[in-house]
């Protein structure tokens, strides 16, 4: 199908612009989420550095990613507007999942369902209470039938909300996605090893 040329086009564009750096040891996402890496990852920097999350990968951009959100405030989106290189004449403007204060767990998971729906068909398969970054939250699993190449992907996410005296609440989250065949089971322990070390970094004192 025609759509299958789009990922190649985007990948080539990204290849021409992206920067990748090695990540190991202690790392901080958005100055708010601290993690410790016992195995190295590759951090993919967005060409325009507009995404509100860090993207790390083991095998490459087309295959797997670990995304980390640190200290998202109410009213802030979880992603930038999806690039629209094509649009049907009657297509509606795409919504961007945006964090709001007071969201129950199922609505928090729904934000990530909406986020990954930009890449294909998403089905949430499991939601359970879990700790993330020292906060009570949820762990959720999902499948993603990737639209660009019909590849069956599998994913897992962790999300927690922390009270904040300034902003009311802050969202902390991580997701890991990889092909269902072979890759997900093999790489998941590496992603979980990072997630287990996540903690909220103290807000620096205001000067």
């Amino acid at each position: 199908m025609t759509r299958r040329l789009l990922p190649l086009a985007l990948a080539l564009l990204l290849a021409a612009c992206a920067n990748v750096s090695r990540m190991d040891g202690d790392q901080v996402v958005n100055e708010r989420l601290a993690v410790h890496l016992t195995e190295a990852w590759n951090k993919v920097s967005d060409p325009w550095e507009v995404d509100p999350y860090d993207t790390w990968t083991q095998e490459g951009i087309p295959l797997d990613h670990l995304r980390l959100w640190g200290g998202v405030r109410p009213g802030q989106p979880l992603m930038t507007k999806p690039a629209m290189f094509s649009r049907e004449p009657d297509a509606k403007e795409r919504r961007v999942p945006t964090f709001r204060a007071g969201l129950p767990p199922e609505k928090l998971v729904g934000l990530f369902e909406e986020l990954y729906a930009t890449a294909g068909t998403v089905a949430i398969t499991r939601v359970e209470p879990a700790m993330f970054a020292g906060q009570k939250g949820v762990r959720f699993e999902f499948t993603l039938a990737r639209r660009s190449d019909d590849l069956a992907m599998q994913g897992v996410g962790w999300v927690a909300v922390r009270p904040d005296p300034t902003w009311g609440e802050e969202l902390y989250a991580a997701t890991f996605v990889a092909p269902r065949l072979s890759f997900y089971e093999r790489l998941l322990p590496m992603a979980e090893a990072v997630v287990k070390t996540a903690r909220v970094r103290a807000t620096p004192p205001r000067s």
Partner: protein
């Protein structure tokens, strides 16, 4: 026919490809980059299965819109397969060819290969950007996803292909000339192909090559033969 405008994306891709044109051409030659560490040739007496090529051909309209052409794709599949089977240094008595009906059950494996090959192309062959944890080595695997293919065929290796090819329509060619007279460059068709040899015991990609160029034509037998030869130029021999 369902039409999707890809002008911006495709133009961006062509810009990227043209920026990388020199290394892309160089990739067709034999290089240690094509081989996984420790691999140089297929084992003596080994069997290889050739997986049906994941292929799609497109026509590019005057405005740059890409439309899939099933008739071209069907012809290209035949031309590519015929040219491949004529490559006696690649295929021989120990080669097994899968049929399309076999691929119905292995469609996800072929899709997985497409994603792995794209990662190899971007992060290893182009190295733009390279993955620091890979150390500039051909170090990718399809893992245990290849086991059903090994069990079904008993083969030691599998040869996968992923190809996308587009051709400027007559209207597009006129537009290219007209805009060139105005000093504006427009892109024509492009041929992108990946070929991977996978060790079915481990799933490891032991050899890889790619094409990323603005010429080539799979719709006709003779130029299809040139594409196959270019893609398999550094293909590993069988040990004696």
């Amino acid at each position: 026919m369902h039409r999707i405008a890809f002008r911006a994306a495709f133009a961006a891709a062509l810009v990227a490809v043209s920026c990388l044109a020199v290394p892309a051409v160089a990739q067709t030659g034999a290089s240690s980059r094509n081989y996984a560490p420790g691999f140089s040739q297929r084992a003596a007496g080994s069997r290889m299965v050739v997986v049906q090529t994941d292929m799609e051909l497109f026509s590019q309209s005057a405005g740059g819109v890409l439309e899939p052409r099933a008739d071209w794709t069907e012809a290209a599949q035949k031309n590519f397969r015929d040219a491949l089977m004529a490559q006696k240094r690649v295929v021989g008595d120990n080669t097994i060819a899968l049929q399309e009906k076999d691929m119905d059950e292995l469609a996800q494996l072929n899709a997985l290969h497409g994603a792995v090959a794209e990662a190899v192309f971007i992060h290893h062959m182009l190295g733009a950007p390279a993955l620091p944890t890979k150390g500039r080595l051909l170090d990718w695997t399809l893992g245990d996803a290849v086991q059903p293919l090994r069990e079904r065929t008993g083969a030691d290796y599998a040869l996968f292909f992923w190809i996308r090819d587009s051709y400027a329509s007559a209207e597009r060619k006129v537009a290219i000339v007209a805009m060139a007279l105005l000093g504006v460059g427009l892109a024509g068709g492009a041929q992108t192909g990946y070929a991977s040899l996978v060790d079915l015991r481990t799933g490891r990609v032991v050899w890889f090559n790619n094409l990323a160029r603005g010429f080539g034509d799979l719709r006709e037998p003779e130029p299809a033969r040139e594409t196959v030869e270019a893609l398999l130029k550094s293909f590993p021999e069988v040990a004696r």
